[in-house]
């Protein structure tokens, strides 16, 4: 059993990266660095590939399959799905923010200009939770 420690290490790294990223999404240092989980998947794949090359036994091959699938899926998510295409930004620093009125959570209309001369405003555009 002990000779399969690289396979165990690989699976531990792969699944640990998934669990760590998912549970620490609130931490900016984790959330804003997707390359951390990609690096963990790549390291896990390398370890499992070397182990499989030295001994093509099922624990090594299973570890290789798990880490390689996660590496491909993670890379696809990070480099393709999560990319927001570059677009011309209508708004620049130093320009007036366009005024608007939108309903709040109780349905009451909120107008941006109503905060003028009272307090700074932070607008957070977010994707929503569908």
């Amino acid at each position: 059993m002990i000779r399969y420690w690289p396979a165990f290490l690989s699976v531990f790294l792969s699944l640990g990266a998934v669990a760590g990223y998912a549970s620490l999404l609130r931490v900016p240092a984790i959330r804003n660095h997707p390359e951390l989980y990609l690096g963990a998947f790549a390291l896990a794949t390398t370890i499992a590939a070397v182990a499989s090359w030295r001994a093509a036994r099922w624990p090594n091959l299973v570890a290789l399959a798990i880490s390689a699938v996660l590496l491909v899926l993670g890379g696809y998510f990070n480099f393709v799905l999560a990319r927001v295409p570059a677009a011309a930004m209508a708004l620049r620093v130093g320009e007036a923010a366009p005024d608007f009125t939108l309903p709040d959570a109780t349905g009451a209309p909120i107008t941006l200009a109503s905060f003028r001369d009272r307090t700074p405003v932070v607008l957070v555009f977010y994707r929503g939770y569908w």
Binding site: N32, G94, A105, R118, T119, V122, F125
Partner: protein, 92 residues
């Protein structure tokens, strides 16, 4: 400082979210993305069902209504650090 969080989400969902987080946020619903579009922040077809969604963006506006700081995502996993936003507001 007033935080206005804008998404196409329905009011009930935003309300639940605000209560769950006990946040000082005011959640505004931009159901047809009209305001998001006026700000040039639509990510066409970027939703999980191919619908248009806002591109995650944080904008700091001073008391005169002038944009003083903004952070726009090119990867929706990445958000501006809250400390950077707080610093931008303090620097006004």
């Amino acid at each position: 400082m007033q935080i206005l969080a804008i998404s196409p989400d329905s009011n009930e969902k935003s309300q639940e979210l605000a209560e769950r987080l006990r946040a000082r946020y005011r959640f505004l619903t931009d159901h047809d993305l009209a305001v998001t579009r006026r700000y040039g922040l639509v990510h066409a077809g970027g939703g999980n069902k191919g619908q248009d969604v806002p591109r995650p963006t944080t904008i700091v506006i001073d008391r005169r209504g002038i944009v003083r700081w903004l952070a726009r995502a090119d990867n929706f996993q990445v958000r501006p650090d809250a400390a950077d936003v707080a610093r931008a507001v303090r620097d006004l």
